[in-house]
């Protein structure tokens, strides 16, 4: 999905309180109409959503195992834009019902827009400070809506904590084709589950498009294939291989192929690597790391030397720590091991 083709046309905001013993669904403040928008506000929400999904987004799809009404409501809105207000009220109600009691009060923002030329629905949850309320606007014929300009100001003033974002489109006729991106800025890369289970599964009724173990294996193998086929210098090859294994063994629950490229590859290699991933249909968005299918491959790193045919094998972290791989034309030896001999034994 090309997030550069995402544009916002209409926005509806509902205020959803914390789900606790002191609140009931009647405490939800619903909008009765879309909020007033201008180009500046449309673009503000386009950019905020694109930023979150582009940086932390996971490719997701409809999960038929979940009982969430959100996929069906999304389908209704995409089929008939007039459903935006009533269906998004139901989405807000479901957010209240599905969120854990510890979740902060939040603003449910439903955005009807376009993605790659077709209709799409963006659903954001912005968690606000308890004391902060978004200005309401009375509608001429009765009812109310929220001021999106005020909401924008609150977001810029850090009174909302960003943010769970998602965007969906329905390229086919039925729910099975529902696909999109979801992200959770708040959780960063630290929690054990990247996109909070309640948001992705219970609330959105979605799941990751590729199982984490398969996505991790594909990323690892395609990256290795790129290093093998596209990187010429042995020193650089070794450096990239060590970086890849380091990435796989790092104590982080997610892999961002883009961040991996930025942090480990030389500037001139990054675009070619990204293109290689895309051509091989490997994940280019974030991946929830699961080493189940490749644990044996990533636990040890082997280096074979050209003339002696000697082989150096060990855990990637230790090789990274004790072995220096120098360019062949440097004054230092191509490979240096910084350690003392502890034991020597005869073989055979």
């Amino acid at each position: 999905m090309d997030l550069g083709t995402f544009f916002v046309d209409q926005i509806v905001v509902h205020d959803v309180p914390r789900n606790s013993t002191s609140t009931t669904p009647e405490d939800i403040t619903y909008s009765d109409a879309p909020s007033e928008l201008n180009a500046e506000l449309r673009n503000f929400f386009k950019e905020k959503t694109t930023q979150s999904l582009g940086r932390h987004g996971y490719a997701v799809e409809h999960d038929p195992e979940q009982s969430s009404p959100v996929p069906g409501l999304t389908q209704a809105i995409l089929a008939d834009p007039a459903e935006l207000v009533p269906a998004s009220c139901d989405i807000a109600r479901h957010l209240y019902d599905s969120q854990p009691a510890v979740s902060n009060p939040g603003l449910l923002v439903a955005m009807l827009g376009r993605l790659e030329g077709g209709a799409c629905l963006g659903i954001l949850k912005l968690e606000r400070e308890d004391a902060i309320r978004v200005e309401e606007t009375a509608l001429p014929g009765g009812g109310k809506t929220f001021s999106v300009a005020h909401l924008r100001d609150l977001m810029l003033g850090k009174h909302t904590r960003l943010f769970k974002a998602s965007i969906f489109r329905l390229p086919g006729a039925d729910l099975a084709s529902l696909e999109g991106f979801a992200s959770d800025d708040q959780r960063g890369y630290n929690p054990t589950t990247e996109v909070a289970t309640f948001f992705l599964a219970r609330f959105l009724g979605a799941r990751l498009r590729t199982a984490p173990d398969v996505a991790t294996k594909t990323f690892f193998e395609v990256t290795q294939s790129w290093i093998e086929s596209k990187v010429d210098q042995p020193e650089k090859k070794a450096r990239y291989e060590i970086a890849l294994l380091g990435e796989m063994n790092r104590q982080a629950p997610a892999i961002s192929p883009n961040a991996f490229a930025n942090e480990n590859l030389e500037v001139g290699d990054r675009q070619g690597y990204r293109d290689f991933l895309a051509e091989a249909e490997a994940p280019t968005a974030s991946i929830e790391k699961d080493l189940k299918l490749i644990s044996a491959k990533v636990s040890r790193l082997s280096m074979r030397f050209a003339e002696s045919k000697l082989k150096l094998t060990g855990p990637p972290d230790d090789i990274d720590k004790f072995v220096t791989v120098n360019p062949e034309d440097s004054e230092a030896a191509p490979v240096e091991i910084h350690d003392r001999i502890d034991e020597i034994s005869g073989g055979g």
Partner: protein, 335 residues
Amino acid sequence: MRSAVADSSYTELAEAYEEERPRFEALAERLNAVLTRDLRAAGVYSEVSSRAKEIGSFVKKALREGYADPLAEIGDKAGVRVIVPYLEDVRRVEDVVEGICTVEDREQKLDALAYDELGYLGVHLELAPKPEILSARGGVGPDAPELAGLRAELQVHSKAQSAWAVVSHDLLYKPPVESPEDAKRAITRLVALVELFDGEVDRLRKVIESDPDYAEMAVAAELDDRLLRFTSRAPDRKLSLLSVPYLVHLYECPPGEVVSLYVDPFLEGNRQKLSDIYEAYADDPTANPLLTQPEALLIFERLQNDRDRLREGWPVDDLSLELLENMALIIGVDI
């Protein structure tokens, strides 16, 4: 030959033209829309205006010129005017016009003047619209078979010529009395100034373009034309100076080939996306200032095809990285 107006009442002539006039009005509007679109696509900065001749003006011309058949003979019943910044753009306008109309007559007003004469300048074309622009398939308006066979007059002026045409109309035709000789002479001197002005502007442009350092900034000028397809906002050339030389050096080809080798293929593959982006930001007062600069197209192309080198060497002393990051957000690239 007796004037037709003399044979019939001028009210009958006015009524006859009044009946015909909506077709000429529709033709003028159709030509205006097609020319605006096609000149923009060809990267020609221009102001296009059109009108159907007013009924009173039509009758007066019939009286003045003594036409036998004014309805058939008066050629500017549908009139379109295109004003371009420079004299050398006039030829580019004519090239575009030839794509949409058959040129039945061309009058270069300067050609009609003797070497020692000064007078009205500009190019006038008598046009018959090609069938495709009268068809819904032409992309501008519904099928309009009722406009087939009609003629229109197109005037093409440089800005200086246009200024002269407006002022001379006021000075020469509007005064209720004949101008004194010395006033006429002063007006003639003004015409000479218009010719001199346009000629000098063209000559100076050529001198500037022959400067070896011009090559990098010429890329910006080339990009102006491409950018016009998406926005008509005038770029700020001094702002371009801050980034264009750096951006041009990101490409592994001579500056003169950057647009054809890299930017044009990028535009070809991203035309709709860019159109949608420029439409979304057209009325946004807080939009990234680089968006309406010609270098935006280089930035977008590099963001798509080599974002790392672009970010690595971004001229942060002159332009904040935030501007580049926002351009990346707009085009949907995470840097």
